[in-house]
């Protein structure tokens, strides 16, 4: 059901946890649906200097949270904003179709975090 890469990112999630020192957070999802993702970013010189996350969700939700940190770290805010759900799924060698929408929230979470950063909203 899941690719090797999804299993790897689920079993060994990268950059997990809330950043102690963050500039903005993007909160997406809903516990009623079973998936909630908080993406934390630390920005320096218009680039994502550090990124972390807290996620409640299925293996796909956790793996996509992990993967977006690898894709976004070091990117300019403009480039990071352009990361799509498909980019994340592709980087994981694909997700089951049923998981594409409900659990693949990381791109939305990052966009929200960047938007909050630009608007000067920390929470």
């Amino acid at each position: 059901m899941y690719t090797q890469k999804v299993v790897d990112h689920f079993m060994n999630p990268r950059n997990k946890g809330k950043l102690e020192d963050y500039d903005a957070v993007g909160k997406v999802g809903n516990p009623i649906c079973g998936d909630v993702m908080y993406i934390y970013i630390k920005v320096n010189d218009n680039k994502i200097k550090n990124i972390g996350w807290e996620t409640m969700g299925c293996a796909a939700a956790i793996a996509t949270s992990s993967m977006i940190t690898e894709l976004a770290k070091g990117k300019t805010l403009e480039d990071a904003e352009k990361i799509t759900k498909k980019d994340i799924a592709d980087a994981l060698d694909g997700l089951p179709p049923i998981k594409m929408h409900c659990s693949n929230l990381a791109a939305d979470g990052l966009k929200k975090a960047i938007e909050n950063y630009k608007n000067g909203v920390k929470k």
Partner: protein, 388 residues
């Protein structure tokens, strides 16, 4: 692998497999054939029928072999609905039936039947007064799951039997989870029909039966050459049926020894898992299957939990939406009043005769760690914050 998912399926008992093997290559006759190979198969079939009947205190002539639980439940409900539609168009079931019963009922509604789905309390028990007041002159069948497959709650079937007996309706129960785990007696309980599945009791998959009390008016679902006294056509799955019969015999014979031991292990699991904070038991504390423990862990999601347990060598299951084809949380957990967020974080452990105290100790070592690991990743620690 430590297997704790016996309500999903069970391995075939070695003795059952041995018993079945000759019926593939050597004793392969068609039970309808006149020659000795056919008659050999026929005898084996009837022997299996006797074994099954004995366990539930029925007459062998009241056992109809099917492909399993789903077919048996479809057969009972649709069969009576079609045969009895002139007498009435009302059916009663509960909100926490297995999907095969619920979807049969929903389909009957589409073609003009009326179905009452009884509510259950927070433990999963129906209200007997509710049942009594739902029965009407035109109620043709009441179908109630004996032991729930997810939360393990066992309905008071004897009392249900007394109530339904006073009405015009037939009483059917899905006993797929309860047979060989609890005593089942169709006469004592006044049952008109009862479904059993072989692969839940250490028998092969693809076989089961429907008990139909003599005199019940029912139509077949599968028409053909008139097998199973005209009620279920199709050349009999002799090897499967023979294995099913033997699994029933062994399961019932060993029940008095196996079930108290498993119940003890189950209670050890419950006592220890409930020490984890923000955790509770789903289902009834006493009126539950001796093999079933079902928990909700707040702030985590069940699919992740099951997959992490799998990576540690433990097989279990969950009622989370993420584990279902529909992306909806379990209707049973919602039926007992759980919020969707708490239904997502559920875990079902179902024991079998091969589980040992060592297995349970390992589970109790691993499970709290896995829950804690997932909670560390979760944005929720004490409550659901703005979502509550």
């Amino acid at each position: 692998m430590i297997y704790m998912d016996h309500s999903a399926t069970t391995p075939v008992d070695k003795r059952v497999l041995e018993f079945m093997l000759p019926y593939f290559g050597k004793k392969y006759g068609n039970a309808s054939s006149l020659h000795s190979l056919g008659q050999e198969a026929k005898m084996a079939l009837e022997e299996a029928r006797e074994k099954v009947a004995k366990v539930i205190n029925a007459d062998p002539s009241e056992i109809y072999f099917t492909s399993g639980g789903t077919e048996s439940n479809n057969f009972a409900i649709k069969g009576v609905a079609f045969a009895d539609k002139n007498r009435g168009k009302h059916v009663i079931a509960t909100k926490i039936e297995h999907d095969c019963t619920l979807n049969t009922c929903k389909w009957l509604e589409k073609i003009g039947f009326e179905v009452t789905y009884l509510d259950v309390d927070k433990y999963g028990l129906i209200d007997l007064g509710d049942l009594e007041s739902s029965l009407r002159d035109d109620t043709i069948i009441v179908s109630i799951l004996h032991a729930n497959n997810e939360i393990g709650t066992v309905q008071d079937m004897d009392e249900i039997g007394k109530i339904v007996k006073e009405s015009n309706a037939y009483l059917h129960t899905d006993a797929v989870q309860s047979v060989t785990k609890l005593p089942v007696d169709v006469k004592k309980t006044n049952l008109d029909m009862l479904s059993i599945s072989s692969h839940k009791i250490f028998g092969p998959k693809g076989v089961g039966c429907l008990y139909i009390r003599k005199g019940v008016k029912i139509d077949p679902l599968v028409h053909g050459g008139g097998h199973e006294r005209g009620l279920r056509s199709g050349t009999e799955n002799v090897a499967g049926i023979v294995g099913f019969g033997e699994a029933m015999r062994i399961g019932e014979e060993e029940r008095p020894k196996v079930m108290p031991r498993l119940q003890k292990l189950r209670d050890k699991i419950i006592d220890n898992v409930l020490k984890i904070d923000n955790t509770w038991l789903n289902g009834h504390p006493e009126k539950r299957l001796p093999i079933n423990a079902n928990f909700s862990f707040r702030f985590i999601e069940g699919e992740s939990l099951v997959l992490l347990l799998d990576s540690k060598g433990i097989a279990a299951s969950t009622g989370s939406a993420c584990s279902s084809k529909s992306l909806k949380p379990s209707h049973v957990l919602i039926g007992i009043g759980l919020k969707p967020e708490d239904a997502h974080g559920s875990l079902r452990l179902t024991l079998g005769k091969d589980n040992t105290e060592k297995d349970v100790d390992y589970l109790l070592e691993v499970l709290p760690e896995v829950v804690s690991e997932l909670r560390k990743m979760s944005p929720f620690k004490k409550d659901y914050g703005e979502f509550e």
